[in-house]
Symmetry: C2
Subunit: 420 residues, 2 copies
């Protein structure tokens, strides 16, 4: 092929990768700062891996924060949608459906705001949506400049990669961002997709790290998963494959029935109220699930208090999260999945530890999280590398993680085929 | 779908995954032991990450070992092929071409034998070929039992996964094995492929680790790649993308012209002679390249001796390796690629360190290796996770590795398209 043709074909995606990487990285960094700001304002604390939820705030303070958050976020989503606008899902955005920039950003900020006040939903959908919206804007701009205009398939790739980079910039996890792009959105893993998504996620991660630092999102006392987990993985991964599959289906069902107009205005404050009441006595319900997941990962012994706390979270977290979606809210489901999987993983691990002692309980939390997330998202590579990256695990952990994700997705695919 | 149909479709691949995982893991472990045995016999040492080549043996001992190895391996390959048999490549095996088990095993053992005596070629093709051959044997057996018979596409997947698992069992690297299967052989990354290849590679790794332990294949003093490598990566990754592309093409050209019959018998001893003469004065040329790569990764300061040693290896290793293939030998090219990339990476890093001091030179070796390997194999994910796993890097290293692999594959794809 001629150099000129080569340039015409490749230069636009190279330029777009770098430009969008910088824009999305900046957007994710700003969203991280916005979240910090809301948390500081409403809950009076600075979130970190050592303190994922504010245990120092009074019960009334916590409850009121989430209730106020629910009322305000519900009102914001009502205003956004009352004239017929509906937030555009990422899958549709990748297929070319337009995301209007300002309304998307308002929608994104509403999500982060609600999580910041303590609402129970993931914060990772927002930066992904912002990323995809910026990528579409770039495409509009590029369409007017022949040297920058992208081919159709590259447009799909760019939007998917920008969504993944949005994730990478918030969670400081470049590999996860790349697999999020390829496994869940672009649905193909080609050398071109790898080049674009890895590079863009890396750029966004670097910019995000300027704000959040390069520290683990979850603190795990022991970063190397023991080979003695093997029998546990073989038994628990298929179980989690089944439960994650059910949770994934429940999310879909709740999303499909989500109200958008006046009904939302009436129902959504109930989400705030219920979450707020739970949060008053059980702060780990608040936010994206980091609090509950960290509780699971920090559990060191099977005390009665720990069992009650984890069991309560395990039951309450999926209910409150599904309710948030069912009653009109939007947000991510990755961290909620991690928190559910980690809680159940530790509870089952306490039983396993009676037979095979000596494994730190945190390891069961990691295995539970990766297996539940793999199946609820149908994305084993993303799940495996997400836990690896956000916990800063050691490379020896790959073996147990890989087996766990492999078994979980096998059961998930079986169930998915059976239910069709 | 009915449970019965589900079982019919999934049970054969589940059983095959576990059975072949165990068989291939055992095969890889035995090949590791065979290599140890040959090295002990011919070179009188026990290979390890601290001592990848025998520096204690005399120059004459080293030279004679490789010369003898060349004569014997050449004779073995001549005998194998004189009646028209040709070793079946992995790509063709995945497509269904039969690998006769005993001849394949003889071919596999010849490869390991030649590397064990000091021959300059990778040892990772052999366990992959053994894995693929065992998978085909299983398919033959399964064809006679309706409950075990695999669908056509699952047959392709099984052979590809078994080849990847063969790698995983030797290098104790499950993720790399899975991506080797999906990226290079099966050429698709689907949930089914992930489930099968991750699970099988994990099983093989566990069995391989019983023999080789769970220790890094390369010792890297500093397991976290510094963000200060960024400008280096941006400049060096595209350069390596170009050089790796050239090396990949050279390998293909040499493979195509490889002699198979009497000519091989005449030419191959020359490979042994040349390698042996070099090995007498420069032991790092011996074997798969681990010695040269470890030399690069262990270099701590830009001394004159280090520069000369690395530069010599950088020139001699590709020549001797290509000559091995061109004159009739078979073997892997992953570790040779790593050693070339690592040597050049360190040499360029010494220049970079003058401008940006304070980065341990080992980090340049890792970046050089991953970028060169990415492009020479056209497999960024495998390359990235291979370096991560064999060096036991820390998770913070993903950022620089991802960017490096992304940029290298981008240049490679550009060049590949341009040369078509």
């Amino acid at each position: 092929m001629q150099l000129r043709q080569q340039l015409q074909r490749n230069l636009p995606i190279i330029i777009a990768t770098v430009v969008i990487g910088v824009i999305v990285g900046t957007s994710s960094a700003l969203l991280s700062l916005f979240l910090d700001h809301v948390e500081h304002l409403f809950l009076g604390f600075q979130e970190s891996n050592r303190m994922p939820v504010n245990l120092d705030a009074s019960a009334i303070h916590r409850g009121l924060s989430v209730i106020a958050g629910g009322i305000l976020a519900g009102f914001s989503w009502y205003l956004l949608q009352k004239k017929g606008y509906r937030p555009v899902g990422l899958a549709k955005a990748v297929e070319g459906q337009r995301m209007p920039l300002f309304r998307t950003l308002a929608h994104v900020l509403t999500q982060i705001f609600f999580v910041g006040t303590g609402g129970s939903i993931g914060r990772e959908l927002a930066p992904r949506e912002a990323g995809a919206a910026f990528a579409q804007k770039w495409e509009d701009f590029a369409n007017q400049h022949p040297a920058l205009t992208l081919e159709d398939d590259d447009k799909r790739l760019l939007v998917a990669a920008a969504a993944g980079a949005g994730f990478a910039g918030v969670y400081i996890a470049p590999i996860t961002g790349a697999f999020f792009c390829m496994e869940l959105l672009y649905k193909r893993i080609t050398p071109r997709a790898i080049a674009v998504s890895l590079t863009m996620s890396s750029i966004a991660t670097m910019i995000g790290a300027l704000v959040k630092g390069y520290v683990p999102y979850y603190l795990v006392s022991d970063r190397e998963l023991s080979l003695r987990l093997l029998p546990y993985v073989i038994v628990v991964a298929p179980l989690m494959g089944w439960l994650g599959h059910l949770f994934g289906r429940a999310i879909k069902a709740c999303s499909a029935k989500r109200p958008h107009q006046v009904k939302l205005l009436v129902l959504f404050p109930i989400v705030g109220l219920v979450t707020g009441l739970v949060a008053a006595v059980y702060p780990q319900i608040m936010g994206n699930g980091r609090g509950l997941a960290q509780l699971a990962m920090s559990t060191t012994a099977p005390s009665r208090i720990a069992i009650v706390a984890l069991f309560f979270g395990l039951v309450a977290k999926p209910i409150v999260t599904l309710m948030t979606i069912r009653f009109g809210g939007y947000g991510g489901v990755l961290t909620p999945s991690i928190s559910i999987g980690a809680s159940l993983g530790v509870l089952l691990g306490m039983v396993y530890a009676i037979i095979v002692p000596g494994i730190p309980l945190a390891q069961f939390a990691v295995v539970g999280a990766v297996t539940f997330l793999t199946s609820s998202q149908t994305a084993p590579l993303m799940a495996l590398f997400m836990l690896f990256e956000v916990c800063h695990l050691a490379s020896g952990s790959f073996l147990m993680l890989a087996l766990a994700a492999g078994l979980s997705i096998a059961v998930n695919k079986w169930l998915s085929a059976a239910s069709n």
